[in-house]
């Protein structure tokens, strides 16, 4: 049997490194475009203050980039070390966007970062602006390729299983790239990054205004961040709705768990605002419900029903039974790969293969699966409800709070009254961590909600992990968490130091 401790530790290590990595990424995504806006204002107006703004916020961008770069590399190592079976099974598909990301987007971004910092006196104004724009483009291109890979894990389109190579193989590259799940995740995620960058600028500018320091610099930064942030939050909300719609199409179990919807309701389903969740009885002790809202959001119709968790588990129980047949057929086919009859039998049940593999968590030999084991496998096919339900709501509440903040900040910047509103400036300052909390909540919803699969409906997580020793994993987790924590401390130290110095840092340190 596969050691569940090893699987859990591998998951913990990957989750920890991904979440640490994602502390750095959204700020890079957001600040890069803000730098383009600021530098474009400099090139068009010729006002030196916009060049100072680009240089100063670029310096903070540089700190974040230097600290954040390579934190993602450890995740790619882990595909090989901790998730070797996953890598073999889906590497032909998953590896392509990751390789393109490394060779194209990351190289573009890294090259342009160098030109951005060292090219001020060597390039023309327009040339330097083009470099800044290419740097932002590289950052965003990186995100789209990573999310294409991730989108395929959520909805494995454009691929087919080959029983000879025991791999998933790409059948349609365009389907992989234009996967609606990937595209909606990309726009939602990068928009969240824009909000993060905007609030970073807005919050620090607010601090300068509260202290009465660098006032002209802070006012202009505040205005740009307020406008960009408002556009960002609106995009996050609209594109988040699109992302939710994509989930309702491809991952009904995730949607049902996010909404704590245990029973199938008549269309359009109601939305549980808050609920007391009881996993044991598969029901809510109580819930505050808004009628019709979930059905309208998730199906965009008044007539389409959404399946509840109990119905999904009952359907999946049948799929598990057929999946067991698929595993048995695959075994026979592996022994006689040329046998056309065996291949035809396997092809009949192949689409349920992943569900049959869920049984292997409890029984090495699927033939020995008892009704109780089949029941447990079907139960596992929907993730735990409470973590998804609450992290999703935390993300949504923070998203709307950020929208309110940016709407007020934008209005105040139009009216030029934000300096007279210390409460607004304090709100912006103290809310700086909020986008990170929202983004990490969203990431947990997306990835925990995919469980029990690494590739949804195709490959269970417990079969994806390598057979490492638990001791080795404890050591590597301690090493990575310790290392990343040091990086985070260094990031905070440098950010605080140079944010406190403000634009005067441009004169005292010409790095």
């Amino acid at each position: 049997m596969i050691d569940s401790t090893v699987v859990d530790l591998s998951r913990l290590q990957f989750a920890a490194t991904a979440l640490y990595h994602f502390i750095f990424v959204p700020l890079t995504l957001g600040l890069s475009w803000l730098l383009v806006v600021m530098e474009a204002a400099y090139v068009m107006s010729g006002k030196e203050i916009y060049r100072d703004m680009t240089k100063f916020w670029g310096k903070l961008y540089g700190i974040n980039f230097a600290l954040g770069v390579t934190t993602g590399i450890t995740m790619e190592f882990q595909f090989g070390t901790n998730w070797a079976y996953y890598s073999h099974y889906v590497g032909d598909i998953f590896g392509a966007p990751l390789a393109i990301e490394g060779l194209m987007a990351f190289f573009l971004e890294s090259t342009m970062v160098g030109l951005f910092f060292f090219g001020w006196n060597r390039l023309s104004k327009a040339g330097h602006l083009a470099v800044t724009a290419l740097m932002a483009l590289g950052t965003n291109l990186s995100a789209v390729l990573i999310l294409i890979a991730n989108g395929w894990m959520q909805d494995p389109v454009g691929s087919a299983f080959n029983p000879v190579t025991m791999r998933m193989e790409l059948t349609d590259f365009a389907a992989l790239v234009f996967n609606p799940v990937a595209q909606s995740k990309f726009v939602h995620t990068v928009a969240a990054g824009y909000v993060t960058g905007s609030l970073f600028v807005l919050g620090i500018s607010s601090w300068y205004l509260l202290k009465g320091k660098h006032v002209e610099f802070a006012k202009r930064s505040f205005r740009i961040a307020a406008a960009f942030g408002l556009a960002g939050t609106l995009s996050v909300i609209v594109l988040g709705d699109e992302s939710g719609y994509a989930v309702s199409e491809s991952q009904k179990s995730k949607l049902a768990a996010i909404e704590a919807m245990w029973e199938t309701e008549p269309a359009p389903a109601g939305f549980n605002l808050i609920a007391s969740i009881n996993e044991e009885t598969q029901s809510n002790n109580w819930a505050i419900k808004i009628p019709y809202v979930l059905g309208l959001i998730a199906t965009r119709s008044t007539s389409e029903t959404l399946p509840g968790i109990r119905e999904i588990r009952a359907e999946n129980k049948e799929r598990v039974k057929q999946g067991i047949e698929a595993v048995i057929a695959l075994e026979a086919l592996r022994k006689n790969p040329q046998d056309a009859e065996l291949l035809a039998s396997f092809n009949k049940v192949e689409k349920h293969l992943g569900y049959g593999l869920l049984v292997k968590k409890y029984s090495e030999d699927v033939r020995l699966a008892t009704p109780e084991i089949i029941e447990r496998a079907a139960h596992d096919s929907v993730p735990k409800v409470a973590p998804l339900f609450w992290t999703f709501r935390l993300m949504v509440v923070l998203g709307f709070a950020l929208f309110a903040l940016f709407a007020l900040a934008f209005w105040a910047s139009i009216k030029n009254t934000f300096q007279q509103k210390p409460w607004l400036l304090r709100w912006a300052l103290y809310f700086i961590p909020a986008p990170w909390v929202a983004i990490h909540s969203g990431w947990i919803v997306a990835e925990y909600g995919r469980q029990p699969w690494t590739v949804f409906g195709v490959l269970p997580t417990h079969l994806s992990a390598s057979s490492l020793s638990a001791a080795s994993l404890y050591g590597s987790i301690a090493g990575f968490v310790g290392f990343y924590t040091l990086l985070l401390i260094a990031e905070m130290y440098l950010m605080f130091k140079y944010a406190r110095l403000g634009p005067t840092a441009l004169q005292s340190n010409n790095a």
């Binding site: 190592f77 791999r167 592996r334 490492l468 050591g475 440098l494």
Partner: protein, 76 residues
Amino acid sequence: MPQSGNPDNFRQRLRPGLGRHLVLVLILKVLVLTGLWHAFIKPNRVKVDAGAMSARMAEPSNQITRENSHDRFNGR
């Protein structure tokens, strides 16, 4: 007049600037990552092929033997 003799300029050069901070961080990063690589990644190279995948997914009786022969390097 040469600037290098001025004690203020000398102190200015010694002051830790952002560039120096970042270079320090990047050197530390390379060292720590190299250490982690040697401690946890290099000795755990994992090789999976069609046989090992098949053993894990579809052939219960052979799994342990085949995994040992394919999955771990350096006797781990």
